[in-house]
């Protein structure tokens, strides 16, 4: 019974945690410009992150190590430091984008400019992290995050041509704007296959005290949670294709996104979107903040756990405080949250190899995962993801320059 509840909560967490500013924005842009043609990119991203999340959970459950911790131990401190610097820089931009998303939701609801909300939002995040335990933060935002299921209901209400949606699961090139098409595809992959998500998941497994007998629980949570999350992203794309594309609206500003549920839900649509954006971005911002702090603390051997009191882990608490301030500063200075999101998602895609290559070694090392090393399917999947990550790393910057629009 306890495990059934844990599975249910885990799936809810994964569903709530999957959707964030990057996946909403990139899916909406894809649908508004290319109808259902980029469904494949969301599905591919979903499959990749499912494999990575399942494996990172397995690694933690069996070895008692989080992924960053194991990377430091197996590949040495120098490599870890390199990984930390690269990922922290990119993830900080993503954090700025998520805080920006929360602020934009508040701007749409109140009419007060998003910059003004940055400091109150940062303080609210800090207070929740400071006062809350890991389960409160994780489960609380995840349960609230269920509001994002409105995208799935909305997509069904709009009666899209499901056959065409299914055809979109296979890659096809559009007749126009091919560079933009590829840039959005890369951004979708960057938004889906985020190293922070798998690192956070592995830290969560340690926080929740998973042991070897949790391997099946982990598998069910990873596969179901990520699949539902992928469905929500596809639903956002479908809605954008049904609402924006026929009107010729290209998503170039957050305020346009607020109208995505209007045709499906009328006056409720606006508030449902605002709530979804607020909760999804707030949840993601807190997860990213915690992940950045976990990574630093795990790398430097400090105490780290959201289940301890701040005074017992002062350096960890100081680290997340600093990251929240830095993330909020990006919003305070007035960087356009939409541009920051697209830029950070593309950069995430570019830095994927640094995080994923060591993972392949770890998942085949019996010192860590004992007899639970990857089978051939797992290895083929990770090798394919690494290949994809290298391709993304090479093409992202030129696409950013020429296709970023």
């Amino acid at each position: 019974m306890k495990k059934a509840i844990e599975i249910a909560l885990g799936i809810v967490t994964s569903v709530g945690g999957f959707l964030e500013i990057g996946s909403i924005t990139t899916a909406a842009q894809a649908g508004a410009l290319f109808q259902f043609r980029l469904v494949w990119a969301i599905i591919l991203g979903g499959v990749c992150i499912t494999f990575l999340v399942e494996q990172s959970g397995r690694l933690s459950a069996v070895s008692g190590h989080t992924v960053p911790d194991a990377i430091r131990e197996r590949f040495g401190f120098n490599y870890f430091l390199f990984l930390l610097v690269v990922l922290a820089a990119v993830t900080l931009l993503v954090l700025g984008a998520e805080i920006g998303g929360v602020c934009v939701a508040l701007e749409m609801a109140t009419g007060v400019s998003f910059q003004w909300w940055a400091i109150p939002v940062a303080f609210m995040m800090w207070l929740i992290i400071w006062k809350g335990t890991f389960s409160v933060i994780e489960d609380g935002t995840a349960i609230l995050g269920l509001v994002t299921l409105c995208f799935i209901v909305g997509a069904i209400v709009m009666h899209p041509p499901w056959k065409q949606v299914a055809v979109g699961a296979l890659p096809t090139l559009p007749a126009h704007d091919r560079l933009r098409y590829w840039f959005i595809a890369v951004s979708i992959l960057g938004a889906s296959v985020s190293p922070y998500l798998m690192f956070f998941y592995s830290s969560g497994a340690i926080e929740d005290d998973w042991k070897e007998d949790y391997i099946n629980v982990n598998r069910v949570i990873a596969v179901s949670g990520m699949s539902f999350g992928t469905c929500i992203s596809v639903a956002v794309l479908v809605l954008a294709a049904m609402v924006f594309l026929p009107r010729g609206i290209q998503v170039e500003h957050y305020s346009q996104l607020a109208l995505i549920l209007r045709d499906a839900f009328g006056r409720w649509g606006f508030w449902l979107f605002i709530s979804s954006l607020f909760v999804a971005c707030l949840g993601a911002a807190m997860e990213i903040t915690l992940q950045l702090s976990y990574m630093v603390a795990q790398g430097f051997g400090w105490n780290w756990s959201k289940n301890q009191r701040p005074k017992d882990e002062a350096r960890f608490s100081l680290t997340y405080t600093v990251f929240i301030i830095l993330g909020a500063l990006l919003v305070v200075v007035g960087i356009d949250p939409l541009k920051l999101t697209i830029f950070s998602m593309a950069l995430t895609a570019a830095t994927l190899p640094v995080a994923i290559v060591p993972f392949l070694f770890l998942m085949n090392d019996e010192e860590y995962v004992e007899e639970h090393t990857n089978g051939w399917i797992g290895n083929v999947a990770v090798i394919a993801i690494i290949t994809l990550a290298f391709v993304l790393a090479v093409v992202t910057i030129p696409l950013e320059i020429f296709g970023g629009g």
Partner: protein, 193 residues
């Protein structure tokens, strides 16, 4: 008599010392030769690295050129893109106006969004006027559209804040602008390379 102190070394020891010193001297020469060879190899390695580095730079430049070539501005394509962007903003205004009239969105959201669209249209107008690839007549036509849309946005904002009665008329005018821009984009798309 020499200046050397008597160290109490026998002839046999002196010969051993001399031969040891000779061995050391030979080894030093050997090491020097080896070091020179290594140095030459390092130079070779460095030059190989230089070649590789240059090759990488060439590859990157070639890739960038390829992307640049793909992205090279075709005037008709640019007209289509600009017309589509303007049409997109017009459609956004239209949808916001309709939603506000239906009560689907709050007034403060409508007002803010219309202001943001007006700002975006102003920037778009600047981009069009400063574009070197757009033909002069297309620039003039697009610029006019941008200006008209900006004026309509100002009117809509006023409708939201103080004069709701004029909104239907503005939406009607927006529809005409939208249609005209869509036609322009379609025509340019058909002529594009």
């Amino acid at each position: 008599m020499t200046a050397m102190p008597n160290l109490g070394v026998t002839d046999a020891d002196a010969r051993d010392v001399a031969s040891y010193l000779d061995t050391l001297k030979r080894r030093r020469r050997h090491f020097e030769t080896a070091a020179k060879t290594l140095n030459m190899r390092a130079t070779d390695h460095n030059s190989t690295r230089d070649v590789r580095r240059r090759a990488r730079v060439v590859c990157v430049l070639a890739t960038l050129s390829l992307f640049a070539a793909c992205a090279q501005a075709d005037p008709q394509k640019e007209i289509r893109q600009e017309a589509q962007t303007l049409a997109s903003w017009a459609a956004t205004l239209h949808l916001v106006g309709d939603s506000w009239r239906e009560g689907s969105v709050p007034g403060r959201y409508a007002e803010k969004t219309i202001s943001e669209v007006r700002e975006a249209l102003r920037e778009e107008g600047h981009t069009i006027n400063e574009s070197s690839t757009l033909p002069a007549n297309a620039r003039a036509v697009l610029s006019e559209h941008a200006q008209r849309l900006e004026t309509l946005a100002s009117g809509m904002r006023e409708s939201v804040t103080s004069n709701p009665a004029s909104m239907p008329q503005e939406i009607e005018m927006l529809s005409q602008e939208e249609q005209s821009l869509k036609d322009l984009a379609q025509k340019a798309g058909a002529q594009a390379r």
